[in-house]
Amino acid sequence: MLEAETGGLLFVVGDEDGARAARGAEGDVCAPEAPLVGRVVAGEPEAITELYAHYAPLVHGILLARVPYGEVGDLVQDVFLVAFKKIGSLRDRERFGPWVAMIARNRAVDFHRRARVTEELSEELAQGPAPQRAEAEEVLEMIRALPEAYRETLVLRLVEGMTGTEIAERTGLRPDSVRVNLHRGMKQLRERLGLKGRDV
C-alpha cells in the first residue's frame, strides 16, 4: 500500500486492498503514462502539464461527484500540485491514474472535514443560477446521493463525457466493474428522476 502524507492528508494510493474492496476490483487496464511520470521525476516540470491535460477531466469528475461545483476548479489545481510534489513516492509509474484519483478522493474528504463557517456568496449565487444550470445542479445532487461507486462512474460518463473504456483505463477499475456501475447507477438515477427509461 502506498501512502503519502501532505498537510494533514493521508493519501492511500496504488493497488491497495481497501480501495479495491470499496470500489470493486481494480483491473489490469492502465494508461501507459510511465514515461511522462519519469520525466517529471527527472526534473522536467513541463511533463506535468501533459499529465494534467490527460487526467484533469478524471480529477474534475471525481471531485464533482463529492464537492460543490464552485469549489471543483481550485481543488483540481490543488490535487495536481500535490501530485507534482509527491510524484517521487509513486512506486508503479504506470498507475498514475489510480494514484491521482486517490489523491482527488482524499482531497474531497479533506474538503468536507474542514467545516467552513462562512462562505462568500458570489454574484451568480446571489442572483441565482440560470434555470438550466439549476436543473443540472439538481440532477447532479441526485447523482451525488447515489452510492459512491455509481456516482463517480456516472459523473465521469454523463458530465465529463468519458466512455466506459476510458473510465476503466484512467481509474484502474476493471471494465466489467465500470459497466456494472454504469448500468446500475443509471437505473437508480432513472428511478429517482421518475423516468421510465429502458431498463438496461
Partner: protein, 187 residues
C-alpha cells in the same frame, strides 16, 4: 454488442443524451495548470531496509534467539543437575560411616569387614559392604576359626612327637598354638 451508455455506440438512449446535454456544461473546462514557482518534486523518503534485507535480518535474529535459548536451557539444565547431585546424600564410605557412628568400629583384617557398633538410641548396626557376611555369619565364622585353632593346637600336640613330618611345612599354625605346644613339650 453496442451499448450507448457504455461507449456511445449503437442506438442512442434519449434519456442518456438529454442528461449528457444537461450536465455537459458542468464538466471540466480546460484551464492552465498553475504551479507555484517554488514547487518542486519532493524526493521519496529513502528506505534504509528493503523487504528482502528486512526478512533476512528477521531470520537471523530468530536464529540468534533460538541459539541463545538453547544455550541457556543447556546451562540451566547442567546447573540443575549439579544442584540435584549436591542435594542428594553422598554414598557412604568407610570413613563417613566411621564419622557418623558413635559406636566403636571393629575392623577385621582377615575378612576386611567393617562392623559398626550400634549407635546410641538407634537400631541395629549397619553393615557397610554389600556382599560381606552378616553379623551372624561373622559370629559363626569366628566360632569356626576358634574351633580350627583348637584343632590346630591338638594337632600340634599330637605332632610334637612326629617332628619333621610336615608339621612345620604347614606353617599356618597360630603362634599361640605353637607356644602352647612348646610349653607342653618342655613340661
Amino acid at each position: 454488442m453496442s451499448d450507448y451508455l457504455w461507449d456511445k455506440t449503437g442506438e442512442p438512449d434519449a434519456e442518456v443524451e438529454r442528461l449528457e446535454k444537461l450536465l455537459g456544461p458542468l464538466g471540466h473546462q480546460p484551464r492552465a495548470l498553475e504551479l507555484p514557482p517554488a514547487a518542486r518534486v519532493e524526493q521519496a523518503p529513502r528506505r534504509l531496509w528493503s523487504r528482502p534485507a528486512l526478512a533476512a535480518a528477521a531470520a537471523l535474529a530468530l536464529m540468534l534467539l533460538a541459539g541463545a535459548w538453547l544455550f541457556a536451557s543447556r546451562v540451566t539444565g547442567d546447573a540443575r543437575r549439579t544442584a540435584r547431585d549436591a542435594q542428594a546424600p553422598a554414598p557412604r564410605t568407610i570413613e563417613s560411616a566411621r564419622d557418623d557412628s558413635d559406636a566403636a568400629a571393629a575392623h577385621d583384617d582377615k575378612n576386611n569387614v567393617v562392623t559398626l557398633g550400634p549407635k546410641k538410641n538407634e537400631g541395629p548396626p549397619e553393615r557397610e559392604r554389600v556382599g560381606q557376611p552378616s553379623r551372624q555369619q561373622q559370629s559363626g565364622q569366628s566360632l569356626l576359626t576358634e574351633q580350627r585353632r583348637r584343632r590346630g593346637g591338638l594337632r600340634a600336640r599330637a605332632g610334637s612327637g612326629m617332628k619333621g613330618r610336615g608339621g612345620a611345612a604347614r606353617g599356618a599354625r597360630p603362634r599361640e598354638d605353637l607356644l602352647a605346644a612348646v610349653t607342653e613339650r618342655q613340661q
